[in-house]
Symmetry: C2
Subunit: 322 residues, 2 copies
């Protein structure tokens, strides 16, 4: 804590790049006068899915039907309303499919309850038309800048592709932008807020929030005038926000996911670097199956070509046959 | 030298980002088996203007008329052929107008000879139609990738603006690209080569070379699919070269030059950040009049708007009235 206090005393603002920073520490810093952005109370909405659902629902934002389960009886009660299968989610700590279970019966649900440590967020298995993500930057002064909503494509409950702009109807796009800005204002976000949305029956439901530069916004590094990282710093420093315009008609990011490939990484990289227009980002993580190891972004004018090139480069990095 | 040898032994390739690295050290490393890219012999062409003129002229590339002066009599002889004023340049160590003198008579020429340490490259004061710069990347395997030629705008012998693409005729653009690639091949450049060209009487003359990422290529950071820095690394590592396509129809970079402004830098930065689409780069150098402190790049579809926005942001950073 002393180290953090000293740091706080030497800088204009404290921010973070993931949500697992203990809120207790941030609250102590804030109450001793440090400028913590985003504020810890807002950050908690990204850290605890159950808390977020309750707060956003109470604020009047559209959220999927949900229930809290702390006993098998709670699960049984919710299942009797919405049927099986159910989505069961740990309130905290989940990411990339971890902490999320599709349960088909009460035994599986009880196992999930156990694994989650005795508390679950339950949700019906919704018929999703698609998933959208909207990045919005907000300054402490209340200025906001919204990025074009993107479509996120999941496999095994992990985001694999980000397609910008989303191909949804103009009305739905406008509604998604307005919803994201309203959430940012209502919760008092500062910095980058990522709002993950389900589209169900033509309507938007808020799934999750992230209060930091987010995987769904990595496409902005090459794809938008201002990257989400620069924008986050502009926002937490209360500087003028940058343009969120796309640099090309179509931008696609494909995540590179560990596959246990045995081809040397250098060979895979050389193959991927030869894909025209592929911007390759590797995170220097050990290659473990199911782990996000990097991403590839491609910008261009033809949607199908752009997506195919990004998919091809990502597949080569994952060890696809050369 | 031991430190350098140890470094060389631990890496795939050694490169540099300015030309004042002593060639003696690079040659020793190279002769002990290190992969030095670009090779020291090629680098010398960027380090010594006189050497470059002679070598490029001997190779048959078009260079401006020139002479070497080591005595006042040498100057007098050249002036008797081409008249006054003359351009007098130190063979080494000059940049941003330093080491370059316009001399109108023999007294001024003698002063320049003194200041340059007894050796000058002399040149007639040419009627330049414009100046172009062409970046080309070349791998050790001999692959090349040429960036779109840009127009460079000088004030006080310092490059102030880079306008991409250059508005010269398609034939002149094609000739400039071919010339740059030919120079890269002939001198065995690896990495980024910047070829600075004069346009005189509709013809190209090679002014100077740089064998490294260059000020005239900073526009590529946001303006091209592959930045010159990434491309330099791809080239010296003999990896596939990236696309050199422009990301927008027009890209302009304006250098930020020290003016001795007294407004706090933060205020100037806030003003410049509000210029729509301005990408601001500051080099954390002390503000001294005439020193390049940073640059601003703007991309867009309207040439005049793009240039005006970049000029405006740079002027604000230099301390223009807010």
């Amino acid at each position: 804590m002393e180290v953090l206090q000293a740091l706080a005393g030497s800088v204009d603002v404290l921010t973070f790049d993931h949500e697992q920073v203990p809120n207790r520490l941030l609250e102590t810093l804030q109450s001793s006068g440090a400028n913590v952005a985003p504020p810890p109370a807002a950050k908690l909405l990204a850290q605890n899915k159950l808390h977020a659902r309750k707060v956003l629902g109470d604020m009047g934002f559209p959220v999927p039907p949900f229930a809290v389960a702390e006993t098998p009886a709670d699960i049984e009660r919710f299942a009797s309303h919405v049927g099986m299968p159910l989505m069961a989610k740990a309130a905290t700590g989940g990411y990339d499919g971890r902490g999320v279970w599709t349960v088909s019966n009460l035994d599986e649900a009880a196992d999930a309850l156990n694994e989650a440590g005795g508390q679950l967020l339950l949700e019906p298995k919704l018929a999703l038309e698609c998933e959208l993500a909207v990045l919005v930057a907000r300054t402490a002064s209340g200025h906001t800048a919204c990025y074009p909503p993107v479509e996120t494509v999941q496999r095994d409950a992990m985001c694999r592709e980000i397609i910008a702009p989303a191909s949804a109807s103009p009305a739905l796009i406008a509604a998604a932008e307005q919803l994201a800005v309203d959430v940012a204002d209502q919760i008092g976000a500062t910095g980058i807020l990522a709002v993950e949305l389900f589209v169900v029956g033509g309507e938007l439901k808020v799934n999750e929030l992230a209060l930091r530069p987010h995987n769904s916004g990595h496409y902005t590094i090459e794809g938008c005038t201002t990257s989400q990282f620069e924008q986050h710093l502009r926002a937490v420093l209360d500087l003028p926000l940058g343009s969120t315009a796309l640099c090309a008609p179509h931008v696609v990011t494909v995540n590179v996911v560990g596959s246990g490939a045995t081809t040397p990484l250098r060979d895979r990289l050389v193959a991927a670097l030869a894909v025209h227009g592929a911007h390759i980002h590797l995170y220097r993580k050990d290659d473990r199956p199911g782990r996000k190891l990097g991403h590839v972004t491609v910008c261009g004018s033809q949607a199908a070509d752009v997506r195919a090139a990004a998919q091809r480069a990502a597949a080569l990095l994952e060890g696809a046959e050369l």
